[in-house]
Symmetry: C2
Subunit: 247 residues, 2 copies
Amino acid sequence: MSNSYPVLERMVQKLSTRARLDTDDRQAILALPFVERSYHATTYVVREGDAPRRYCDFISEGFAFRQKLTANGGRQIVSVHLAGDFIDLQHLFLNIADHSVQALTELKVVGVERKALQRIALDRPAIGSALWIDALVDSSIYREWVMNIGRRDARARIAHLLCEVSVRMRAADLISEEKFELPLTQEQLADAVGLTPVHVNRTLKSLVDDGVVYRDKRYISFTDWGAIVGIAGFNPLYLHLDQTRGA
Amino acid sequence: MSNSYPVLERMVQKLSTRARLDTDDRQAILALPFVERSYHATTYVVREGDAPRRYCDFISEGFAFRQKLTANGGRQIVSVHLAGDFIDLQHLFLNIADHSVQALTELKVVGVERKALQRIALDRPAIGSALWIDALVDSSIYREWVMNIGRRDARARIAHLLCEVSVRMRAADLISEEKFELPLTQEQLADAVGLTPVHVNRTLKSLVDDGVVYRDKRYISFTDWGAIVGIAGFNPLYLHLDQTRGA
DNA sequence: CGTAATATTGACTCACTTCAATCAACGTGG
DNA sequence: CCACGTTGATTGAAGTGAGTCAATATTACG
């Protein structure tokens, strides 16, 4: 366990986008005991049924996703996470994991001691509200996913996921150009939107054929942002990207 | 604005199931400024796009639900809430509502001043963790709904919703006998599980015909709990019903 | 370079939707 | 107390979006 700055800097940045932090708040975060860790793609970070781990992970590099399994073996990916996301806030105050978290790509995380994070969340109001907001935004995203899967057809569903990922990546400052790498295989994409891989393939193709999506390997770009937004029925409100002014 | 005990008593009880509260915590809750309010069925409590309201509602009687609308008019019900649930915790720290909340039946709520609730959530660790847990359980339920809609067929989906509602009602001590009233019309049920009303009707009928569900008007009972649990693939873990021991 | 994982495509099937009636329940006014 | 209107439940027939099965191409990678 070390205590050097740079890795926690990013957490400070992230939380600053959620609530106004003063110098003491920043210091408190930078003083958190932490470990750095890496996971290879497909490695489990959390397993459903687990008791809480000692550390609460924050992604510093790479992608991860949450998943749940149906009684008869079906898999549902319930969220995708990128650099700057807390993986484990969902379990910060719960005593058993109700879902699994897996590395999607090579993944680097900063593991903060859970007890210390709990303490800081409860003792420092500004940090507390930043963490609250972060968790509530996650909730909001789940709600959008419920609607996405429950009430949109395949085309809109896939388009919506593409919109969400691109907007979140841009907001997290992970995209420089217009294109971005979608780190999901078509099978994973299918499990995220509640379709089969075959149908995802065809639907994706139709988006490409219609010229609204350009695809090169896993790299995606949009020829016309207004067009996919229209197809997806995408409204970024639910991402609550401008919460800085607080509540 | 009054300050009599009985209505907030229930909130104390609810939060006590989430974390251990001491006498001061209880007093702090009972001292919260609040108003009592009623809504007729179908009335909006919160509208998507709204700024936060002054009061944060806690259901003392009746049912409510959250919903979102697709760009082309589709409706998705994303959760159902019963007596003892906070309606608005989801917006406690966010500055715009990303979904609507509507009364499902005649509804009585206790509206607690939002600022006061924020303060108590951030200042009193025990209450803070109780509220955290409550919000995190909501998240967990959303995740289960994503899976329910994304990866289960109509029969299992509907069975799962029935299981969830009955278990939650029992946990909230709202059921005395074996039967319970499902406050949803078939159309609402359809919007909750991502199906059409027609198909819900047929599927429900098949469950009745198979003898696993008994139905009289809106009253539902199960002839064999093990059987619907099997059909639904229902595992109550995600409801985190025994969080009392804290984290 | 070989081999496994992923992507693609075709042909066929089916769970769920759509459209369209009909029926039942319930509150309301005369 | 009953006709009537409105909302919710039920049923049938036909259509379709997405699933299934299965083969082949492509890519990633040790």
